[in-house]
Symmetry: C2
Subunit: 354 residues, 2 copies
DNA sequence: TTTTAGCACTCATTAGATTAGAGTGCTAAC
DNA sequence: GTTAGCACTCTAATCTAATGAGTGCTAAAA
């Protein structure tokens, strides 16, 4: 059943009020503040209906109403007005984003902290995932008798590297020969296509020195497989204290325990990344219990993605209470994501890369 | 004035009790629990003296006594019994420390999380600072027309690298020539000895191509200067919720806001690092207002250092309420630091390095 | 038929009052 | 010098009453 226009107006008013006050909203205050031309009694009747339909909830009989999860969902999907960032806000964002940065992870961390400062919510940002990136070039750089540096350059321009152990006695010549063969065999492949088996094909080309080759190949395979370490940066977690719903120590503890564990955040973002691959929204909103983690089921999560070379490689997420300023958050995140994508591209094109 | 043995016993008893209960300690409970052979009235008199001397405080007239900062200091310096880790605890530590780790930062992060789990306090660990390390070897690896990878290997075996921009048109030959000269000039110097001026001496050796050399040298100088990025990992911040003194939202917020800012932690640890350079304690304890940050002046900080090549390169700190199990914390940290130093050495000697 | 005024009712929150209890300080006896 | 005893203090817990925001229902008005 479609809601009447009047019910929709009233629901919208309730959500708007509740978001800004955090107090259950009563019929009288709606009648007063919003010019609906209705008496409180009428609104009261409509509210009773909306509650019956599942869009509102009552903390206790003599309190006002609070939007239910369903209510927020309807609000987000159909009712909320698009928020247009003010010039001042845009300037603020642009100003905050400016910063000389040397390393990619620093850039990501900075973006995370900027977003949480601007939105006053908690932010999580993942570093670029390279599984889908292809290898442009790789090189083994000798370090000492026991180790070498494996440098991997992806098509998007990101450079990753890690030291690997080599058998003693492997010489420079051997490494450069191996480098050439590795490039021949692996360049163009995506990270996720590379596994030990693939790498072992190289054995054939380097028939000699098998006993020192194998352990190196294993190390290279391992390294490539997990070089895509997928870190996550958290910003502004303490912002949660600004919301009265987290004035309860137990709730605050639950929240912090959840976000302290990077594994949780990783899973959380990953769930949504899949979502973007299917739909082609730029922004996704997950309200309350719509996400699987019980610890943050009083929270909503607004996410977006960023890309390199046309492929989604990372995510940005904003976590706040379900009573969140959805419209403003969405607009801010949209703009911030666009800015970030540009920054990233510019940064990589300037010759930075890891 | 020296405290009488009896006063010392009583103070010790009070600190011990308060640490375990978090409740002000009364004369009667001391008389009962601790076998001092004294009546509560006598203890009461002694406690009044101890308060007058500044070792105890009274939250209000009809409450028991609580150790003052001075009281904790005396306790820590003179009264507390050395705690000997049990076999089970040692096994627990050894078991927790075991983990296959690929990157140095992961190792540090892991140690931080282990320590906070074992002690139930909050832990901060700094990554190795390389200012005092000397350069064993460096190399420029060409990446593409606009960038190269500068690889720096320190005497302790730690490898750092970062991409730097190069002028277009710089060829491989140029880079390898530059690499040779850089090594000739810089190998053996410590990171902090290197500055732009030092690097510019290289100009003389490479008279040609000055216009493309200068920007590269600047980049190299910048990179070396700030490669010692000094990250800090935080573990178990939510443990603070387990202490009744942090059941107050305002206090919890203050604490989290402080530890969320890496800059604060960096400063905090740095202050103490200087301390270790002067004295040669292995463990340092800072109680309450003894540290400069007002946000954590109800906390105590137990720190230790770790070294590479005989030089202190990093710090481990444990933050808890001033009402902390000092003896046990000190013993645990001592043991954990020793273990960590060993792990680090073993890890580097196995050919890992960044 | 829809809207609204009016009123009785509910229930969380707050303030005030009372009580219980832990602990002290002091005095006088040991 | 030590201790028993007691009056006194102050917090924390419990209870009570008052307040008031908000509802649901009914009957009148539109």
């Amino acid at each position: 059943m479609e809601l009447s226009e009047r019910k929709r107006k009233i629901l919208q008013a309730i959500v708007d009020d509740y978001v800004s006050t955090a107090e259950p909203v009563g019929s009288r205050s709606i009648a007063k503040k919003h010019d609906l031309g209705l008496s409180s009694a009428t609104i009261r009747n409509e509210m009773a209906d909306l509650e019956e339909l599942g869009y509102l909830e009552q903390p206790h009989t003599s309190a006002g109403r609070v939007p239910s999860q369903l209510g927020y969902r309807l609000y987000v999907d159909q009712l909320m007005n698009r928020y247009k960032l003010t010039v001042a806000e845009i300037q603020n964002i642009q100003y905050a984003m400016e910063l000389k940065i040397k390393e990619l992870n620093e850039l990501i961390q900075h973006v995370s902290s900027v977003i949480s400062r601007l939105t006053q919510y908690t932010t999580i940002v993942s570093t670029p995932q390279l599984k889908k990136s292809s290898i442009k070039y790789l090189q083994l750089v000798p370090i000492d008798s026991k180790s070498a540096l494996l440098v991997i350059i992806t098509n998007a321009g990101i450079v990753k590297n890690r030291t690997i152990k080599i058998s003693e006695g492997v010489n420079v010549e051997f490494l450069s020969k191996l480098t050439a063969i590795l490039n021949d065999k692996l360049a163009g492949l995506t990270i996720e296509q590379i596994n030990l088996q693939k790498i072992q094909e190289i054995k054939k080309e380097m028939i000699s020195n098998e006993e020192m080759l194998m352990p190196i190949l294993e190390h290279i395979s391992d390294t490539i497989t997990d070089i895509d370490s997928g870190e996550i940066y958290l910003g502004g977690a303490t912002n949660i204290f600004n919301f009265p719903e987290y004035n309860d120590i137990e709730k605050a503890k639950e929240f912090f325990s959840f976000v302290e564990e990077k594994k949780n955040l990783y899973k959380l973002l990953n769930n949504f990344q899949n979502h973007y691959l299917k739909s082609n929204n730029t922004i996704n909103i997950s309200i309350g219990k719509e996400n699987e983690f019980s610890e943050i089921q009083d929270c909503s999560l607004v996410t977006s993605t960023y890309s390199l070379g046309g492929k989604i490689v990372g995510m940005i997420g904003i976590i706040g209470p379900t009573r969140m300023e959805y419209a403003k958050t969405v607009s801010s995140l949209e703009y911030l994501t666009k800015q970030f994508n540009q920054m990233l591209l510019k940064w990589l094109s300037e010759g930075n890369s890891d």
